[in-house]
Amino acid sequence: MGLVLLVVIWLITFISAYFFIAKTWWLPAGASVAAAGIDHHFSTTYILMGAVFVAAQVILGYFAWQYRDRGSASRQAQYSHGNNTLEITWTVLTLILFVGLNFMSSSIWASERFRPAGPGAVQVEVTGMQFAWYFRYPGADGKFGATKPELQDASAGGEGAIGLDTTDPASKDDVVAGTMYVPVNREVDVTLRAADVIHSFFIPAMRFKQDAVPGIAIHMHFTPITVGDYEIACSQLCGLGHYKMHGILKVVNQEDYDKWLAAREAEKQ
């Protein structure tokens, strides 16, 4: 039985570890400034934790086999209540490992979340509602017009859906779209809102995730570095259509972005 246990535990360990090492399934390719740092720290954590995982399982399997009761051939079990030096050693080592990892990642977290977006960032307001994302651009005045919940009408789509108050002068040039366009290599300042329940705005390739909470506007930023189309998902359970609440982020070069925005403005007039 000791041998069977050893084989089963080791096999489970090696098969699990294989798929991690082979990266058969892995993080999606990153396309933002933040991705490299986050992925690097993920790899560091994963190498350290992976080593602990394999070591602990291998030792467990080995001990199960080595110290099995072999009948009369076995020695008496060792009578020991433990060892304080060992206890202190592994406590200190684990503490250093865990808290050390934490401090290593804190600077990335700080740059993502402590610092607000720079002054030249592209402004996009993202509103989540059951079960769609709407993206609003402030237009030439750089100001978002007022929105009012009592004006919201999901069936109207676009401006109507988010309840844009057309009597507010600042709203005149606001553009509301169903697809998110942003220029490449420019910081995007996202203002997240939710109309009904909590949603979460997740762009895997940008390493961007943040809940959109009704009643508060949350600012978060990212900088895309590769032109392309990226999927946006909702990552917080928001109701029966949660699984189909998705959108597209189109990262384009500055000219295409300007052209697209101008066309939307023209449509509006």
Partner: protein, 581 residues
């Protein structure tokens, strides 16, 4: 203290009941109540497991028509996952290890004739049973069971119009949880009082088996955590039905104003996780205590670092109340607090690691007997390591950006809080079944059950980590809408097949349990040659546990392979060992 002790002793001095109802239904005997809790959890775990199978079937064959149930719609899927989570967390992981085995064995292991408050004990069970009935009723009302997930985040959970199941079904869900909290609070008081006041002569705190420590600490966590959830639940009920706005700001559903103003959705998350994180430890601590116990018994060796184990459990309990924010890194909570919660969460990993080292230290140079409880205890260690190792990923907010709300989280908590705890429950069942029912369980069936469960659960939950890394979100009822999920479907299919096999394996356990009650080999009083007090009394124990005399404790709980002793274990009630060691 004197009057307290008097009250406790006067209350437990109840005579053995004679009527069937007082003996088996409204019993005051902690052993009967323990078995009642156990069977409640057993019913719940099979319900919860079938729900999970339906979910897995729906993920792979979304348009399949099932016998009796028809087609599973997306909202039905969400109801299934809500009820699966709620039933498993409350009525299995909280109920079986603490309510079941804790009730039965805490008094016997500390040498007490019953719990401190037998009537309260009976009430705790029946309130819990009522809570379960109310929970199940949610399936059968108009609109069905709620779809807001076991975490029930408002406004989704607070607004009747937010989706199907958010009507009466959601009210029943909240009421059931509130009732459960009441039962758990009464039970916690009982456990704490019993441990502090009713230990036998010579049973100092530091001579208590680690199982008793784990039940004691779990009860303290329960007392502090369930009160908060109860209050949070009542506020949610008021928001839902009395027009208050604790959790709901000004929102519209489908363009209609919901009629609330000024509430904070994040308030619920804080209250819920202030309960929710300690709850993780409520589920796992008894399994930790038990597996420590079993590794020592079946390695024929004292536990490695008894005091370190006790301090580790105490610090887990203490730190467990300071880490709830790590569930909220992406919630909109201040990023500065996220940093603080992250450090505390990493710190709580340390005592967990200490325990793992001590478990390995216990079997090191032991003489291992691979009985069924020992197999499950070793499996527990393996699962605890595997589930624990993903913790330091999720404890770092910067990695949560990618991993939060993905299958990585689901894999993590299922391995450690779900499967590892359930391995603890299995180990406890195989270990104490002889004492509870007077017969042994079948060892060959138990081994089949063990290997199917170990390999099967790894096959289901390890791939979840791969899915999560690839960005696969949880609580998605269909995998068709997002393009990047399409490539992951084969892995999901594999997991569904693994679930079929694993669940089939659980019926081996069910058969073994009931078959052995009737036909198992007769058990002796101490079939495992263990040292703790429950093995000194007859099998099954008499109404007052010890047949009229009170045990006197002379030794620690883990005196195995003592040099010079006549046999390889010295019982706690044996004459005192020489002070040499």
């Amino acid at each position: 203290m004197a009057t307290g002790e008097f009250a406790a002793h006067a209350a437990h001095a109840h005579a053995a009941p004679t009527s069937w109802i007082r003996k088996y239904v409204f019993s005051l005997d902690h052993k009967v109540i323990g078995i009642q809790y156990y069977f409640l959890a057993l019913t719940a775990v099979f319900v919860g497991m079938i729900l999970s199978l339906l979910m897995r079937i729906h993920l792979i064959w979304p348009t399949a028509t099932l016998p009796f149930l028809g087609e599973i719609k997306p909202e039905t899927y969400l109801s299934l996952l809500t009820m699966h989570g709620t039933i498993m967390v409350f009525f299995v992981l909280t109920t079986a290890p603490q309510g079941g085995f804790g009730n039965y064995f805490l008094p016997i292991q500390i040498g007490a004739p019953d719990m401190a408050f037998p009537v309260l004990n009976m009430l705790s069970f029946w309130v819990t049973a009522l809570a379960f009935i109310v929970m199940i009723a949610a399936f059968f009302v108009v609109g069905g069971a709620p779809l807001h997930g076991w975490t029930g985040y408002p406004p989704l959970s607070a607004l009747q119009s937010a989706g199907p199941g958010e009507g009466l079904g959601a009210d029943l869900w909240v009421i059931s949880i509130a009732l459960f909290c009441l039962g758990a609070l009464m039970s916690a008081l009982n456990f704490i009082t019993t441990t502090l006041d009713m230990r036998a002569k010579g049973m100092t705190m530091m001579r208590m088996p680690l199982t008793c420590w784990s039940w004691f600490i779990t009860a303290i966590l329960g007392l502090l955590a369930f009160g908060v959830l109860l209050s949070a639940g009542i506020l949610l009920l008021l928001d839902r039905n009395a027009g208050t706005s604790f959790y709901v700001p000004l929102v519209t559903i489908n363009g209609q104003l919901a009629g609330h103003k000024g509430g904070s959705p994040l308030l619920w998350q804080h209250l819920f996780w202030f309960f929710g994180h300690p709850e993780v430890y409520i589920a796992i601590l008894p399994a930790m205590g038990l597996c420590s116990q079993l590794l020592s018994v079946f390695s024929r060796k004292p536990i490695f670092g008894y005091k370190a184990m006790v301090y580790a459990m105490l610090s887990i309990g203490f730190l467990g109340f300071m880490v709830w924010g790590h569930h909220m890194f992406m919630s909109g909570m201040s990023p500065y607090t996220a940093f603080a919660f992250s450090v505390m969460t990493m710190a709580i990993g340390v005592p967990s690691a200490i325990k793992t080292f001590n478990w390995l230290g216990t079997i090191w140079r032991g003489r291992l007997r691979f009985t069924s409880p020992m197999l499950f205890a070793l499996g527990f260690v393996s699962l605890f390591v595997s589930g624990g190792i993903s913790g330091p990923f999720l404890a770092q907010p910067v990695l949560d950006i990618q991993l939060h709300d993905t299958y990585f989280v689901v894999g993590h908590f299922h391995l450690i809080m779900g499967v590892a705890s359930i391995f603890g429950i299995f180990a406890a069942t195989y270990y104490w079944f002889p004492k509870m029912f007077g017969r042994m369980m079948n060892e060959s069936l138990a081994r089949w059950h063990f290997f199917i469960s170990l390999i099967g659960t790894y096959a289901i939950f390890m791939p979840m980590h791969y899915l999560g890394m690839a960005g696969h979100l949880r609580r998605y009822s269909q995998l068709t809408e997002l393009n990047y999920l399409h490539g992951l479907v084969p892995l999901q299919t594999f997991m569904t097949y693994a679930a079929f096999v694993t669940i089939a394996g659980q019926f081996i356990f069910l058969f073994n349990l009931f078959w052995s009650m009737k036909f198992g080999k007769k058990a002796s009083d101490n079939p495992w040659e263990a040292t703790t007090i429950e093995w000194t009394t007859t099998t099954p124990p008499p109404h007052d546990n010890f047949g009229g005399h009170m045990p006197v404790v002379n030794n620690g709980p883990y005196e195995y392979s003592v040099p010079g002793a006549p046999r390889d274990y010295v019982m706690q009630t044996d004459p005192p060992l020489a002070k040499a060691h």
